[in-house]
């Protein structure tokens, strides 16, 4: 049976742990709200971009000199996976889920005889994937020192990707990240970036538009912007999901700590009572012996 003193120490230490997890939960909840509004604010731009792209892309996709960002290189040999994870841990299975999803993808692609390259965005994903695929990681991008993610950060990633495409370093690019469904559930998804899947053309048709300067020139500017937007969206989803996941994880941890404190307190009281009873018995039997 543990001594009273050691029990008391344990209760105190679990209590301070509970304080920390509770505070972390509060912080995560506040940041989650901010991340969610930011994700919401980015939606109108993405929607309109999609509409514009739909009316533009359909008319040009068939032509032989269509931009690479839209149609890819025509080959299907080298796959680039962009894996987006959080910068920090203590968020339940958030990072592990993406990591596991990415690992399954890499295995599946390699089983088909394709070459895989990986860019990791976020520290945790890099750490996770390095264990197994260190030689396939071509770049690690981290925003650990950023307080909030702006569109420039996303353009940085997309510039890197389009540079690699121009250099012919890959054929197909897929973005892997946690899609934010709601606070308690985020699912890892793989979204193809290059060749760009074209959004459906609306029924009224996009062929009515005039273009200035030319269709090709607009498309050449629109596509990199679109790539940036897709990545920006993923980064925002990732941020919101991370805080959601952290909030849930910390809520569970707080509850578990509470349960543990109850158990330990019960144990402590029992031990204390047992000690008192034992002392009483000793005194009584001593008195009887006299």
């Amino acid at each position: 049976m543990p001594s009273l003193k050691s029990l008391r120490l344990r209760i105190n230490s679990v209590k301070s742990t509970r304080k920390i997890t509770q505070a972390m939960k509060m912080v995560a909840a506040a940041k989650l709200r901010r991340a969610q509004t930011q994700a919401e604010a980015a939606r109108p731009y993405a929607e309109r971009m999609e509409r514009m792209l739909a009316s533009l892309g359909a008319s040009i996709a068939g032509s032989p000199d269509a931009p690479k960002l839209l149609v890819g290189t025509g080959a299907d040999k080298v796959h680039l996976l962009v894996v987006v994870t959080a910068e920090r841990g203590l968020c339940g299975g958030f990072n592990t889920n993406v990591g596991r999803f990415a690992r399954a993808q890499v295995r599946a692609l390699e089983a088909e005889g394709k070459t895989v390259k990986i860019i990791t965005v976020g520290r945790k994903g890099a750490v996770y994937l390095k264990r197994e695929f260190a030689n396939r990681i071509v770049a690690e991008i981290s925003f650990a020192n950023k307080k909030r993610i702006g569109f420039e950060d996303a353009s940085e990633v997309s510039a890197k990707i389009s540079d690699m495409l121009d250099a012919g370093e890959f054929d197909v690019c897929t973005l892997i990240y946690n899609r934010f469904k709601n606070v308690i559930s985020q699912t890892p998804v793989g979204q193809q970036l290059i060749p760009a899947p074209l959004p459906e053309v609306a029924a009224d048709g996009g062929a009515l538009y005039e273009f200035e300067p030319t269709e090709e020139e607009i498309l050449a500017r629109l596509l990199p912007q679109n790539l940036g937007i897709q990545i920006y969206r993923a980064l925002l989803d990732n941020a919101a999901g991370f805080y959601g996941s952290q909030m849930t994880a910390m809520d569970n941890a707080t509850r578990n700590a509470g349960e543990m404190i109850n158990k330990l307190t019960l144990n402590y009281n029992r031990t204390r009572q047992a000690n008192i009873t034992r002392e009483l018995i000793e005194i009584i039997s001593g008195a009887e012996a006299l």
Binding site: P44, R48, M52, E210, E212, P213, I218, Y232
Partner: protein, 136 residues
């Protein structure tokens, strides 16, 4: 006067969405004024100032660094890379940005023309920003 729906969005937020009479924006090949009932167009923008006209007056002026505009008969959607109201434009920031863009352009003097083009566009946008900041 007939009005149309103007929407101005940047990647980070929806900046403007309301009925206006006319909008003038810096299209790639010159300033372009759009009234209601314009023929449908998709236009690429360079750096410059967007002016919103309502009731015969300029009610809002914003600087954009570049972007796209989609014009339809009853609405105009402007996708700006970055938009700042003219009043809150910082002169010093504009100047430092111009210096940076000029340096990058000069450094890439030997690059292929396709590579220099976006830098050129950036430099011109920065120059427009300095001008807009000076005028404000």
């Amino acid at each position: 006067m007939a009005s149309f729906q103007l929407e101005l969005v940047s990647p980070e937020k929806l900046l403007l969405s309301r009925k206006v009479d006319m909008v003038v924006f810096p299209a790639a090949e010159g300033e372009m004024g759009v009234l209601a009932g314009h023929a449908p167009m998709i236009v690429s923008l360079r750096g410059g100032v967007i002016a919103v006209h309502e009731g015969g007056q300029v009610t809002e002026q914003l600087f954009v660094a570049g972007g796209f505009a989609e014009v339809a008969a009853d609405r105009v959607t402007i996708l700006a890379d970055e938009a700042t109201p003219l009043a809150s434009l910082s002169k010093s920031e504009a100047q430092s940005r111009l210096a940076e863009a000029e340096a990058a352009f000069a450094a890439a003097a030997n690059e292929a023309p396709e590579k220099r083009e976006p830098m050129m566009a950036r430099m011109l946008a920065a120059r427009a920003m300095v001008e807009a900041a000076a005028a404000a």
